[in-house]
Symmetry: C2
Subunit: 101 residues, 2 copies
């Protein structure tokens, strides 16, 4: 999960400004509460380069890239993706999101 | 690349204490100098959980995990792995490294 922080007022914003540090803790605790702590490593990352899509979460080795993740999405990511390997399609960033016209 | 930093004196040490912040900059610049900047995203990460193997570098989507990476390894990682897709075997962490007896 990106926890890059830019200075307040930067027009790009940043995932940390959107609350990603707390969201990372929430996701990690939710995974651990489900007994997934030894199988899933929730970790921070630097900027993932698509700041307008933050908060961003990349899941490896699955190659799944989630954007606009909020605290309301954490349980679903854990219960569906981490526990059952299902991609949460509504959060997946599309190619057009990457390069907005 | 892990850029986690623990306080000085922590027995685990940390990748940042081993110089990973500068190493990340070096790797990023080396990739860019080879014209790989649009294809390879060099980014920081939090702790990758095997601090005794630091400095650690995970390469995705390749699923390659390098340990004990030093400034002397940067050109080879760029020239062989990033440019040609060859794994630099001598840096790959083995299963026994993960769980030292």
């Amino acid at each position: 999960m990106c926890t890059n922080r830019r200075p307040d007022g930067n027009p790009k914003g940043s995932c940390a400004q959107k609350g990603s540090e707390a969201l990372k803790d929430q996701l990690k605790k939710a995974a651990e509460a489900r007994g997934l702590g030894t199988r899933v490593r929730v970790m921070t990352s630097g900027c993932q380069d698509v700041c307008h899509l933050g908060i961003t979460v990349s899941v490896w080795p699955d190659g799944v890239f989630y954007g606009r993740v909020t605290p309301a999405d954490v349980d679903e990511i854990c219960d569906r993706h981490f526990a059952r390997g299902e991609v949460v399609e509504r959060l997946v960033v599309s190619d057009s999101d990457f390069d907005p016209a």
